[in-house]
Symmetry: C2
Subunit: 202 residues, 2 copies
C-alpha cells in the first residue's frame, strides 16, 4: 500500500533532514521538522523558549508521560497542568504528530515519530546515517566551526537523540527492526536516497 | 567508486539470497553462497560433511582463529593441523572469502564476509530483513512444513547466525554501522531491493 506518512530518523550531519525535505517536495507531501515546534507552541500554550529547549531532549518521565498522552489524545490543554514543562512539551508533541499523520501525505523528521505511529500501516520508517568523515565534512560546510570539535558536536547531538528515544519509546534508536530502510547517505548518495524513498513510498 | 564486491547478510526467510542471486545476474557478477563450501572443501581437504556442519556455526575459538587465519593467509593447508574441524573450516572460509574478493565482481552471501573484508573500500555491505509474517509465508512456500513450527525454525536459524557472527567478528550482527544499506524486503519488495543494490554498486 502507498505510504502516506514518511518518518525520517537521522544521525546528525548525515543529511537526513535534507533528504526528507526533497522527498516531501518530490511527492508533494508536507514537511515537518521545526514546523512541529510551531504546532506544539500553539497546542500547549507554552513559550517558544521552553518548547525549543525540550524538543528531542529526554526527561526521566517520558515513558510514563507517553501513556498519559495516549490516554488523553482528545483532551484539552488542561491535561497539561501539574506536569513539568518538559513533560508538557512531549505530551503536546505526541498529539501533534498523531494529528499530522491523520492529515496524511507528510514527511516527519525525528522526535520518535516512528514509535508514536507504530500502529499505523501507512507509515514508511527510514533511518539515515553516515560515517564520521562524511558527517564532519557536512557539518563543517553547513554550520562552520565552533569552539567545540566537530566530531564531539556530532557525538553529543546523537547521544541526546538516542537518550531521548530510549526514555520516550523504551526501545533503542537505530535498531533495524524499527525501520523499513536504513541508508548510509555517504555511500548511497543523497540523490539516490531521495529517489529510493520516493519510489518505495508510492 | 564502483563496488566490486557485494556482501549480503540476511535474516532467514527474508529473500536475501534470492536478491543476491538476481543482483549478481544483473551486474554480471559471480555469486557465492553454497559455492563457498565447494572452495572450502578444495582448500582445506576436509569432507563435505564436516564443512557443511560448521558452515556459519559458531565455535568458541573463532575470534582466536581469526587472528591465526589472518596471519597465515598464504600458508598451505599444513597450518590447519592441530586445530579442531570447526576451526579448520572457519580458517579456510576466511581465506576463500579473501580470495574471492581479490578476484572481484562478486556477490557473497553471509559468513561474516562484511567483517572479513572490512578493510577494503570496494565492498558494498547490505543487510536484508523482513517482518515475521513475510518470512513465515516465504519459508512455507519455499521449504514447506516440517515437524517444527515455522517461526521457531526462523528464530533458531537467525540465532545461530547471530552467535556465529558474534563469536567470529566480536561485534553484533545487524548493527547498522556495519552495513551501507539495510532493507526490509517485505516493505521495499524484492525487485526494488535488487534495483537499488545494483544502482548503488555501479
Amino acid at each position: 500500500m502507498a505510504k502516506k506518512v514518511i518518518t525520517i530518523s537521522r544521525e546528525f550531519g548525515s543529511g537526513g533532514r535534507t533528504i526528507g525535505k526533497m522527498v516531501a517536495e518530490k511527492l508533494g507531501y508536507k514537511f515537518y521538522d521545526a514546523e512541529i515546534i510551531d504546532r506544539v507552541i500553539e497546542k500547549s500554550g507554552l513559550s517558544r523558549e521552553i518548547v525549543e529547549k525540550y524538543d528531542e531532549y529526554a526527561t526521566h518521565k517520558s515513558s510514563f508521560l507517553y501513556s498519559i498522552a495516549i490516554n488523553s489524545v482528545n483532551a484539552s490543554t488542561e491535561t497539561y497542568h501539574g506536569t513539568s514543562f518538559a513533560s508538557q512539551v512531549h505530551i503536546a508533541q505526541i498529539k501533534v504528530i498523531n494529528e499530522i499523520a491523520e492529515e496524511g501525505n507528510c514527511v516527519i523528521i525525528g522526535r520518535g515519530a516512528d514509535y508514536i505511529l507504530r500502529d499505523r500501516d501507512d507509515v514508511l520508517n527510514v533511518f539515515v546515517y553516515a560515517d564520521m568523515k562524511f558527517k564532519c565534512d557536512r557539518v563543517l560546510s553547513l554550520y562552520g566551526e565552533t569552539d567545540k570539535k566537530i566530531e564531539d558536536r556530532i557525538k553529543d547531538k546523537d547521544t541526546k537523540r538516542r537518550v531521548f528515544y530510549r526514555s520516550f519509546a523504551m526501545r533503542e534508536w537505530g535498531v533495524y527492526q524499527n525501520y523499513h530502510m536504513m541508508l548510509d547517505s555517504g555511500t548511497v548518495g543523497l540523490d539516490r536516497c531521495i529517489d529510493m524513498i520516493c519510489d518505495v513510498a508510492k
